[in-house]
Symmetry: C2
Subunit: 206 residues, 2 copies
């Protein structure tokens, strides 16, 4: 009994994953530049040797975080759930609502991990910028796909431009999270959500 794997005193993949996990929160709270490698080390109970073995530089850690963690989070939170809805427009609205309601108060104050990094790093690091734009495209492109499906199924005007609308919707999400970071009030989030809902309803046929 007990998996042999867990008894190993060394597990490089797990170590790497732990670093990424702790780094995610550290960066989520403090931002990338202000996040301290030493702090991350303390919280993982690892040492410099382990860290810089897996990530040649702090920036490489950031890049991996965007490519792996953030990309996966976006898909999990914003795209994959839409598959469950016959009407994608409804899916977008209901999913957003669910996420608003299920997010803990303290996390509300931290905003959107992707948006945070875009705001901080895109202007000053071209590699970050490129990788973040790719994840953003996963998001926008994903929404776009479902908006096209909505058009086919007759839930969205043929005249609407799915790409433009997808950009608008993602922008709304990011804006709402950003705004909530200041007010820290779920009511504001709900209010913004209601406005978006109103708008989307004007785009439905009949």
């Amino acid at each position: 009994m007990g998996k042999a794997v867990e008894k190993r005193t060394r597990n490089p993949e797990l170590t790497r994953a732990r670093i990424l996990e702790v780094a995610f929160m550290e960066i989520f709270v403090n931002g990338f530049q202000a996040a301290s490698v030493n702090n991350i080390l303390d919280k993982t109970n690892l040492t410099k040797g382990a860290f810089f073995h897996h990530f040649p530089t702090k920036q490489d850690l950031g890049y991996a975080l965007v490519d792996e963690t953030l990309r996966e989070m976006v898909l999990d939170r914003w795209i994959r759930p839409l598959e469950d809805y016959e009407n994608p427009l409804e899916g977008i609205i209901v999913n957003l609502r669910k996420i608003i309601d299920s997010t803990e108060e303290k996390h509300l104050a931290l905003g959107c991990p992707l948006n945070n990094l875009v705001q901080e790093m895109s202007p000053i690091d071209p590699i970050f910028k490129k990788k973040l734009a790719e994840v953003l495209e996963v998001w926008v492109g994903g929404i776009e796909k479902y908006l096209k499906k909505a058009q086919v199924r007759g839930y969205l005007n043929k005249e609407s431009n799915p790409r433009r609308l997808a950009e608008f919707i993602v922008m709304n999400h990011e804006g709402a999270f950003g705004m909530t970071k200041s007010t820290c009030d779920r009511k504001v989030f709900r209010s913004l959500h209601a406005s978006l809902k109103d708008y989307l309803q004007t785009l439905t046929p009949n």
Copy 2:
């Protein structure tokens, strides 16, 4: 000829203003935490003595920047121009358009100074958070005022909630600037602007 004032070798108010001006750009580009006091000093050709005479700590500089510089910028860019329009809704849209078109490419990539600071500092510094929320309220409250005026003048549905709509509009502005930071494409900004315009038109009587 020549103003006597300019010949003074010392001018504390000017020194303070120069620090704020240079610090604004430094923080606009790098963020508050990553902005270096030494860099700011170099670019102003001043010394530590001057800096810490005017601002006891780096944080105090940040607070002054929000209270003075950012507050004034928000009024100048987003609120005061609305006075020129008979239809405030039109004013909001046209003013946004003007700002999109007149912002230099490189500044587009830097986003919105207020939004940047909100994202970075609100979660980790309660004083920043309070001051930033005050400036945000200047913005939202200002828009709200003109939306009420629009209702009185018959340009906006009586059923619309000016407060909620003002929050939505400001959120749109911040979201659009944030998004542009990633894409660095004025087209995206225009596209987002068009969506907001569409939405506002659905709220006009008749």
